[in-house]
Symmetry: C2
Subunit: 390 residues, 2 copies
C-alpha cells in the first residue's frame, strides 16, 4: 500500500537508455521502435567506448510510488537503479533486459504482438556452450518487461505485448479496429470483445452519439443493461471488464473519456472490492503506478452502490450480506489510502459500510424487480449527482 | 468421476410434472413456457384432487450418470426422486422448486433473462408471518434450478437463465444476434463476445463460408491466430472460451457443428487440463450430464498439442514443464474415464505424457518463432488426420 505523501511526486524524468542524459527520456515524438533502438545504441556506444555498459531502470517499488494530489494519479518518483554488464550480480538481468528489448523490437518491426507467455518462450534458450538458460521461468521474464516499460516510458501495449482480454462493450459509438468499422449499436446481445491492445494505431474512434460511459463491474449485470437496451434509451456506451477490468478495458475507458470527452460513471458492488476497482480505474494501481498517466481517469464518478442506498431505496433485509473479517480489514485499509484523505463523502461512505455491518451487490436490486436497476436505480443516480462519490 | 458402464444408459424418459405419465416428459414441441405451466398445472390438479402434491426430479448424482458408448455422450440414467409437499423434510425444497419455476415463467413471459444471482435475489424473501426465508443463500437456489432443468428437459438457457460469459469469435460466418446482423470477418482484433445464451430464438446463422471451426483454449493463443489472419487464409471460424469454455461457447460450438455441418478441431495445451477440456467439449461433463445431448460434440477432433509433438516438431528442452504430482494423478484418472476405454491412441497419448514427465503449452511453439503455430503447426495438423486424437 502506498504511504501517505502529499506532494513528493515530481514530474517523471527518470533516465532511460544507458549513458543518455535524463532529459532524453521522453523524446518529443519518438515512437517505440526508435526508443528501443536508442536503448540498444547507447549500450553499443558504451561498449565501443570501452566503458562498462549499463541501463538505468526507474525503481518500481513502494518506496518510489506516491499519490500526486494535483494530478490525482498514483505516480512513480524519480529513484532509479543502475544495471551493469560487468557486475556479477547484475550481468544476467542486464542481458535479460537486452534480450527482451530485442524481442520487442522484432515485434515492432514485424507489426506483430505477443502475450507475456509467448515472449517468455521467444526469449528462452540455452546460452551456447553452457547449460545456463536465459530464463528459468516466466516469473523472471515478466519483471524485465515491466522494467522496459518504465525505462522507455512506453506502455507494454506499445511494446506490442498483450494480456489476456476480458470484457465487452455495446453502445452508441462507431470505431475502427484493425481496418474494420464496427458500429457498437449493432452487436446483438454479445457485443464487442474488448481486446488487450487498443492503442490509436489499432483502434480509432469514428462517430459517437453517446453522452456518457457506464462501466459496470460484472458481465451478468452488463447483460441486464444490454437486454433492457439501456444504451439506446440513455445514449451511452455500456462496458464491463469481468470484475477488475483488464488493461485493455482501462485503456479504452481512458481513451474514450479523454478523446471523446465522455463522463465515466462506475456501477460497482457495495463492498471493499468495488471500492478498490473504482480506485484503480480512477487513480491507477500501486503495482503499476507508471501506467497511471495513460490508464487512470481521475474524473471518474462512483454512482453506486453506496452504503446509504439501502435506506435510500428501501431495500429489504434479503439483500444484506454480512461483512467478513477480511472485508472489515480491507475497508479500513482503503480508508487509509492517501487519495481518500480529506474526502469526507468517501470517509462517510466507508464508515457507513462498517456501521451497517453488511455489503450489497448490484444484483441486490433484483429483489425489487428484475429491471429496477436499469429502470429506476441508475436513472435516479444520473439525476442526482449529489449522491455520487468522487 | 463416472464409473465405467458400457450400455446401462437408456433413453431418457424421466417423469417430470407431478402425476403426469412418464411419456409426457418430452412433449413433441412444447416450448419452455408450456412446460413450466404443465408443471404448475399438475400440482394444482393434485391439490384440487386432495392428493399430496409432488414433483419427480431425475436424480443428478454420480450413481445415475453413465457414458453411452453408442451416442458417445455422458448421459443420465432413469432414477428419480419424489419431492412431496406434505413431508416435513421435503416441503421447503418443494416450495423452492415452485418458486424458482414461477420466476422462470415470469422471465419467459416478459421475454427477459436473468443470471443465477439475479434469480436468487428475485426469489429470496421472508415467508409472511415468519422469519423463515425462502433461501438462505445461493447455494440453496442453484441446485433447484438444475432440478428444474432435468425435470423439464430444458436447458437453463431455455429457462432464460444466463451465466457469466467468456470467450470470443472471429471468422467466415455471418449471423443474426437479437436482430443485428453480424459479419464475423469484420470485427477487428477484438471479435464477437460470445454471450451466454445463443439459443435459436436469439442467434440465427445467415451465411457461412467457413470450412471448419478451430477452438483454441486461451484468449492469448486465439489472438495469435487472429493477428495472423488464420481464419482468412484457411476459411474457418476461430473461437476461444477463456480456458474451460463456458456454456455459451459450448452451445455455440454444438450448434455450428450440427447446423452448419462444420468439423470442430480443438487446439489445447498438452496437459491433463487440456485433455479434460477436450473431454467436456466432446462428451459433456459428469456434473451436468443432462446437458450433454445439447452441448457435447462427440465428433470433435483433438488436433494437439500431443505428447508426441515434442519429437515430431523437434522442440527444444526450453518448452518442457515438469509434471506436478497432481498432473500425474489427474492423467491417471483421465486414463480411467470410460470414454477413453479401448481408445488405444488416447491411451498411448496419456501414457506418453507420463513417460515424458513433462507437459507443454500451445505457446511453446513460440520458442521456434512467433507464428510457427499458425504458419506451420496447425496447417501440418490439418493435413495429417492420423495425428489427431478422437
Amino acid at each position: 500500500m502506498a504511504k501517505k505523501s502529499k506532494s513528493k511526486a515530481k514530474k517523471n524524468k527518470h533516465p532511460t537508455a544507458a549513458g543518455k542524459p535524463k532529459s532524453r527520456r521522453r523524446p518529443a515524438k519518438a515512437n517505440t521502435g526508435e526508443k528501443l533502438e536508442a536503448l540498444a545504441q547507447a549500450v553499443v556506444d558504451q561498449a565501443c567506448g570501452n566503458t562498462d555498459p549499463f541501463v538505468d531502470i526507474p525503481l518500481r517499488a513502494l518506496s518510489n510510488v506516491s499519490f500526486n494530489v494535483k494530478t490525482r494519479y498514483v505516480e512513480m518518483g524519480d529513484k532509479s537503479q543502475r544495471r551493469n554488464f560487468f557486475n556479477y550480480g547484475q550481468a544476467k538481468r542486464f542481458m535479460q533486459t537486452m534480450l527482451v528489448a530485442s524481442k520487442c523490437k522484432a515485434l515492432v518491426n514485424e507489426g506483430k504482438s505477443a502475450s507475456l507467455r509467448q515472449v517468455f518462450y521467444l526469449a528462452k534458450h540455452s546460452i551456447p556452450g553452457s547449460k545456463e538458460k536465459t530464463f528459468d521461468d516466466q516469473a523472471d521474464c515478466d519483471p524485465i518487461l515491466e522494467d522496459l516499460e518504465v525505462a522507455l516510458d512506453s506502455l507494454r501495449e506499445e511494446l506490442r505485448i498483450f494480456a489476456d482480454s476480458k470484457g465487452a462493450m455495446i453502445g452508441e459509438i462507431t470505431f475502427v479496429d484493425t481496418g474494420d468499422t464496427i458500429d457498437a449499436t449493432k452487436l446483438g446481445s454479445g457485443g464487442y470483445a474488448v481486446p488487450s491492445i487498443v492503442e490509436p494505431d489499432v483502434l480509432q474512434f469514428k462517430k459517437c452519439n453517446a453522452k456518457f460511459i457506464l462501466h459496470v463491474e460484472k458481465g451478468t449485470v452488463w447483460r441486464r443493461f444490454v437486454e433492457d437496451r439501456f444504451w439506446e434509451k440513455h445514449h451511452c456506451i455500456l462496458i464491463h471488464g469481468g470484475g477488475q477490468p483488464p488493461r485493455g478495458v482501462r485503456r479504452l475507458l481512458y481513451r474514450m473519456h479523454h478523446e471523446l470527452k465522455l463522463p465515466l460513471y462506475c456501477l460497482l458492488d457495495n463492498d471493499p472490492w468495488g471500492y478498490y476497482i473504482y480506485s484503480v480505474i480512477k487513480q491507477g494501481s500501486i503495482n503499476l503506478a507508471y501506467e497511471s498517466r495513460r490508464m487512470a481517469v481521475p474524473a471518474a464518478h462512483f454512482i453506486g452502490v453506496s452504503s446509504f442506498d439501502y435506506e435510500r431505496f428501501g431495500l429489504a433485509d434479503n439483500v444484506k450480506i454480512d461483512l467478513a473479517d477480511t472485508d472489515i480489514k480491507r475497508a479500513k485499509q482503503i480508508l487509509a489510502y492517501p487519495w481518500f484523505e480529506g474526502k469526507r463523502p468517501w470517509i462517510r461512505e466507508i464508515r457507513k459500510m462498517l456501521v451497517n455491518g453488511f455489503k450489497m451487490e448490484v444484483e441486490a436490486f433484483s429483489n425489487k424487480y428484475l429491471s429496477f436497476v436499469t429502470e429506476e436505480y441508475v436513472p435516479h443516480k444520473l439525476k442526482h449527482p449529489k449522491e455520487w462519490l468522487d
